[in-house]
């Protein structure tokens, strides 16, 4: 039983981790795993997955926490190390029963639900277990510095230390998904049951319980906190613990059916350009060879943020997004990055300094588990007007007599016309009704460090 649990857990953990690391090809098999995550499914209003998880929990307890949740499985791994270390120090009682911290637990849950309803995303993103795991993996593997790395590191250290010494305390006090599932697992049909007649009160099960939910004094288990790891059953030498139908005296095997959802490959976010300073300085050529400096483009403050095609509107996107970073690691064009803005902390936004939202790419929309970015096809992509480009004529090189038109040449929807200016130069002009906000013009504009043509976000992306 425990073996099956560990095997399935490792399958999920490695699958989801690989999605974040972005091993190409593998993720076409793993795409459904992030969509099985509870909170993203709630955000996506993915009724199938929600009902499945609720039924699963109602029938078999919080198997979700031990198998599907990557943060939970990660804690089990860390906790296992803690137990081994304690054993080395002759401590054979790594865990013991603790009372349920009702006030804190439900207090956090209430706050969390309130935060979702009120749209306080920072709080939601910080606590959501799947997002926390995503940030940890994404920051470690992509070596991206910035506020997200700090948050990920703090989360890793806090959750890691808790797991190392106290097992599943995070899951049973802080985690809002754990608390939600506990409402159902309390009444789970199948669960570990202590046979008081057979129990010799050796407390081996209590000391093995990562969730600290077995109280041998009263021969009771707090099923709201039990994550069905089966460690207790394994540790009972007298057969006093059984995983069985608690309402009837029969047993049934655990069966896990994986839901299916489509997902596709994710790419490792393009490594940061190893370019030093880049500035366009038209040198007076005297000798052959060498490179003109090209200044890197400055990250722009956009009045309205840019969110990816597939998000219906900026508000809808920020309401649903759990900041799991899966789209950030999936973006092959270096466009998506986590926001440092406090209102949308760690939720992704677009920027075109290193690339633009390419017409053939729908990677983020295929990986998003929360419905913040709806799955779109390449053809549907141009229906989403995520932003509008506009020209700063002061900065435009064409306005100063240099033959250019690189923006018009690369606009995938033909929204930019080259027209004759009053000074007789051929200069760009944007048809805002056609522009989709992909950023090709901004990325390819020769003006540096600020492009002469820039994209501002639109609140509503789909014209219905």
């Amino acid at each position: 039983m425990k073996i099956i649990r560990i095997a399935l857990a490792l399958l999920f953990l490695s699958g989801i981790t690989l999605m974040f690391v972005g091993i190409e090809g593998l993720s076409s098999w793993m795409g459904w795993m992030p969509k099985m995550q509870f909170l993203p499914a709630v955000m996506a209003l993915n009724a199938g997955v929600i009902i499945f998880i609720v039924l699963l929990t109602f029938c078999f307890g919080r198997i979700y926490c031990s198998v599907i949740c990557p943060l939970g499985v990660m804690q089990d791994g860390i906790s296992r190390v803690g137990v081994l270390v304690k054993r080395l120090r002759k401590n054979r009682r790594p865990f013991h029963y603790r009372k349920e911290q009702k006030l804190i637990r439900y207090g956090i849950w209430v706050l969390f639900v309130a935060a979702i309803l009120a749209g306080v995303q920072v709080f939601v993103a910080l606590l959501a277990p799947y997002s926390a795991y995503g940030r940890i993996v994404n920051s470690i593997f992509s070596f991206k510095t910035g506020p997200v790395l700090v948050v990920a590191a703090v989360t890793l250290v806090a959750v890691g230390i808790t797991a190392l010494f106290f097992g599943r305390q995070y899951c049973n006090i802080v985690c809002p998904v754990g608390t939600t599932l506990s409402f159902f697992s309390r009444f789970a049909i199948f669960r570990p049951v202590i046979d008081a007649d057979k129990c010799k009160n050796c407390k081996m099960c209590e000391h093995a319980c990562k969730a600290s939910c077995i109280d041998i004094k009263t021969h009771s288990i707090d099923y709201s906190r039990c994550v069905d790891c089966f460690d207790c059953i394994d540790n009972c030498k007298f057969g006093a613990l059984q995983y069985r139908n608690a309402y009837r005296k029969t047993t049934a095997p655990v069966s896990m059916e994986a839901g299916s959802a489509n997902g596709r490959r994710a790419f490792l976010a393009g490594a940061a350009l190893g370019l030093g300073a880049l500035s366009v300085k038209a040198q007076n050529k005297k000798v052959d060879g060498g490179f003109a400096e090209v200044l890197p483009k400055r990250t722009l403050e956009r009045e309205t943020p840019l969110t990816p095609p597939g998000s219906v509107s900026v508000n809808d996107f920020y309401r649903r997004c759990t900041a799991c970073q899966l789209c950030v690691s999936a973006c092959p064009n270096g466009v998506l990055r986590p926001s440092a803005d406090l209102n949308h902390f760690m939720q992704p936004q677009m920027g075109f300094e290193n690339g633009y939202c390419r017409p053939e790419c729908t990677e983020c929309s295929t990986v998003c588990p929360s419905g913040a970015i709806l799955s779109i096809t390449r053809e549907e992509k141009t229906q989403y007007h995520v932003g509008t480009a506009s020209v700063n004529r002061e900065l435009c090189v064409a306005e100063h007599g240099t033959s250019c038109g690189n923006c018009a040449r690369h606009c995938p929807v033909g929204a930019i016309q080259m027209i004759e200016s009053s000074e007789g130069f051929t200069v760009p002009s944007v048809d805002a009704s056609v522009c989709i906000g992909c950023g090709a013009c901004e990325f390819l504009c020769p003006a540096r460090p600020v492009s002469a043509i820039t994209v501002n976000g639109r609140h509503q992306h789909l014209d219905i």
């Binding site: 490179f291 003109a292 090209v294 053939e360 033959s403 020769p446």
Partner: protein, 448 residues
Amino acid sequence: MDRRDFIKIGSAGAMGLGAAALGCSPRKPKTASDETEQMIMRENPRNGDKVSLLGFGCMRWPMVKDESGNEVIDQEAVNEMVDYAIAHGINYFDTSPAYLRGLSERAAGDALARHPRSSYYIATKLSNFGDHSREASIKMYEDSFKEMHTDYFDYYLLHSIGRGGDHAFRERYVNNGMMDFLLGEKAKGRIRNLGFSFHGSKDAFDSFMRIHDSGEFTWDFCQIEMNYIDWKHADGVRNVNADYLYAELEKRGIPVIIMEPLLGGRLANVPMGISRQMKMREPDRSAASWAFRFCGSYPGVLCILSGMSSMDPLKENIQTFGHFEPLNQEELDFMERMAVQMKEYPLVNCTNCQYCMPCPWGIDIPGIFKHYNTSITDGTYAQSREQKDYEKLRKAYLTSYDKAIPTVRQADHCIGCGVCLHRCPQSIHIPNELRRIDAYVEKLKQKL
């Protein structure tokens, strides 16, 4: 770097083995001991200079990063190559104050100064492209003496004349008094031979020949671009065919120095279809050796310059010139057929000379062309979705492109300002070619 694939061609040789047994005369197997064979020498009919047929072009010295990350010439490697070259009979070294961001002359000068001055000939140029005032030109001329640690130049060239024809020539060299100055220097013995290097149209060349015939100025030698492609297949409009240039020079007894015998390494790394036919004839000879032998088969050629950037091409070239065999008429015809076939490939006619660089907008023009050409010659050119391995080739091209060229220096960033247009000695319409490659890359990215 340009020639790093030089040796690779040899590995394709196996396929031609069987066919070779049919009709080709057996050649001596090449071994390391053969390197001691004598470099073939040509005599300058005007002054009796004994010049090695293989000359060392100093435009492609190996580069390394110094402590602060700047690209500098790898002087140790240069010394090693120069020592080896001189030990194996190479005695003609060609450089310019403009080459390699102006670093070439010093590197060549430092390496050569370690040898007796009489054991080699120095060729350098008046490369006054930016500022052709008399003062700036004379300064450039005098600086070259300091850079190269010498008090005379054996061969001194007016660098790349031809564009703009007679008018531009008079602007740069006659009206500012530089021709008179240089002739004075020649009389003093500081210049032994005065000539020019040429890229341009037939009309421009004819005007320089008229100057020679009329006796206004006489040319002691002339440096032209010649190889089996340019022989009859230069673009013909802006660049005249080499067979015409050669014939005109030979007629007047003007010694010919050859540049771009390999088109910047492109003729050392030819498409598979071409190299296969060469291997069918000569399984042990490289594509580069065919190109060299083509040039050397013409008796009016005094020296063939090759910009060797490492010991590998240097050693291989010394072997080629060590037991040099001119091509017979049948073989020359074969080279012409290869040239015709070569024209079928959508290659960019770039020799990686870097004259277009630096692009004011930071585009790595020669890098983009080289990456593109290599994919064609290596047969890894993704053409259509129906092609076998299309997906693999597509990915390979895009990945290697990003690796070879930083994103902001790629073809899509070319704005078409046209500054590069007049700089290209091959008359490549650089913005159009960049746009062609950009469209190709876009096609691959969109999987069209």
